[in-house]
Symmetry: C2
Subunit: 319 residues, 2 copies
């Protein structure tokens, strides 16, 4: 397997990204190859600094860098020799099997949709986060920001995407999919979520368990929480900030510890034709390592294929 990594992506690149590669090495079989995208001279210097053997890696020289402030929509045409643009090109041409970056999230989403393309039938791809539960288990929340405006059928597909992710990557059988809502009764919520509830009710594509309120996001009542990217992003950032505050205050606790994003590594773009992982901008070496391993696993577990299978079942039902 060839795992592509954007060495230039993230607030602490390239030091943190190369350090992450070093940490990942121990857990990646020798038969796999990590392919490094970035400024070659810079990569070689950093590898040497960290006492690593450059011959173990494929290095793809990318003289340009897409910065956090660059327009996601224009980045690929304006900077075709950036690590992101080249990474996506290699992935599309199957020269690598998966690609991961902690760089510009917007550009990653554009690359996913425009270069890799949506899986046929997917209206909008989605990004997600793991939400640790009070009892130690993990749930998935999506969308967390790719789609601030959603239509009902898009939210329905998020239920399907989340369900396949939970089954494939989190090893949960028949994942319980819930709508994050403001009341448990089916008539609760805004007009959009009331109509999504009707779409999901008695559906044949995933195991819908109804509405769940914000107060039950940690009480293991569902494996997948579906929301739109506006609400999901606010919830995610809120949880992250509380985690940060508690950490700063030195509050130690198993639940709090499980909010540590370093262990997760990032989110795949769910619903596109190849494994692409978006890491957190503030990723340190540990987070980059987790991101590399997540990219590897998404490919290994055939997440994309499983989503395609679930979709074909969904479209068969629509006919």
């Amino acid at each position: 397997m060839k795992i592509g990594l954007d060495v230039m992506g993230g607030d602490f690149a390239p030091q943190a990204t190369i350090a992450g590669v070093k940490l990942a090495e121990a857990e990646v079989p020798k038969s796999d190859k990590i392919v490094l995208f970035g400024k070659k001279s810079l990569i070689l210097t950093e590898l040497q600094k960290q006492g690593m053997d450059a011959s173990r890696y494929d290095i793809i020289d990318a003289p340009e860098v897409i910065e956090m402030g660059d327009s996601p929509l224009k980045a690929f045409s304006l900077k075709p020799y950036s690590s992101l643009a080249l990474g996506f090109k290699f992935l599309r041409n199957k020269d690598i099997d998966c690609f991961a970056s902690a760089g510009n999230t917007g550009a990653m989403l554009v690359g996913g949709m425009m270069v890799i393309n949506n899986i046929e039938g997917i209206i909008r791809p989605s990004i997600s986060t793991i939400v640790p539960q009070e009892n130690g288990s993990q749930s998935l929340l999506l969308d967390i920001g790719a789609n601030p405006d959603c239509k009902a059928d898009v939210l329905y597909q998020f239920g399907l995407l989340g369900s396949v992710y939970a089954e494939t990557m989190m090893n949960i059988k028949k994942p319980r999919v819930a709508l994050l809502n403001i009341g448990e009764e089916e008539k609760k919520g805004n007009l959009l979520f009331q109509s999504v509830h009707q779409l999901m009710k008695d559906n044949d594509d995933f195991n819908f368990v109804g509405n769940i309120e914000g107060g039950d996001l940690f009480s293991d009542k569902a494996d997948v929480f579906v929301t739109d990217g506006f609400n999901g992003n606010i919830v995610l950032k809120l949880i992250e900030s509380l985690y940060g505050i508690l950490l700063k205050k030195g509050i130690q606790d198993s639940l709090v510890d499980n909010f540590d994003y370093e262990k997760i590594g990032g989110t795949p773009i769910l619903g596109i034709n190849a494994p692409v992982i978006i890491g957190h901008g503030i990723s340190n070496a540990q987070a980059i390592k987790s991101m590399i391993l997540l990219a590897r696993n998404v490919h290994k577990q055939r997440l994309v294929k499983n989503i395609k299978n679930a979709l074909s079942h969904y479209y068969l039902n629509l006919k």
Copy 2:
């Protein structure tokens, strides 16, 4: 001043409501009168049980009770002799100056809009919550559930309502009003919040400071956070549940302590013609006491009048 209290409202009524009255007594001047709405025999028994002097209170006998499961829209016509229906009637007739209940929130909102009526020019009244800040100060978040579907002008008015509340009740001069959003730039957010940003930008009614993300809900960047009732309710319940989890784990901390709803007592219905306070269903005596004092303060500080003044300025500008 006459302060109306629904003795029957809340999960632990009438024990907790009467105990709350007992606690409030110490802080309410003798010249004020607490008016108790509920089943008279039950109230008298409870007052005696708790060793209180019944002659200190006006007791309005209300043989019917609006339950949590009753339809808010039908409750007032089906149960005209309930504590809620009578309380609202007394308030409308100015036989009391303010009214508080920890009962059925939906029925409270209906009573507020249908019996007390919106202040002229208010499209939708709103309910709010106090959000403690990391530095010890307090901010306001609204709406928290009365309006799951909002139009842009409704959200604009929430900015005005929140600003007047923060100035009148929280003693903040020129309160900083922010939109709770998914990015700080003005083009960020869903279509609704992008358009609200344009409405609020450079406005003349309150001090708009721009978009603030979910990660800055506790970092004292704004005094008032405006959101719709769908997102706001999810955020509120999420925070409440985390507070509960941390409490259960015995985690002691000044910030965590400040999330204690007992100290707040509830939320006024902002934008109606008289002071109505909605308490938390699980209110204990301490929370009921805070709710009674809040009702008293909302009347004393002339919140309704201040909102009317701010609104007349707003409508003058529209002409």
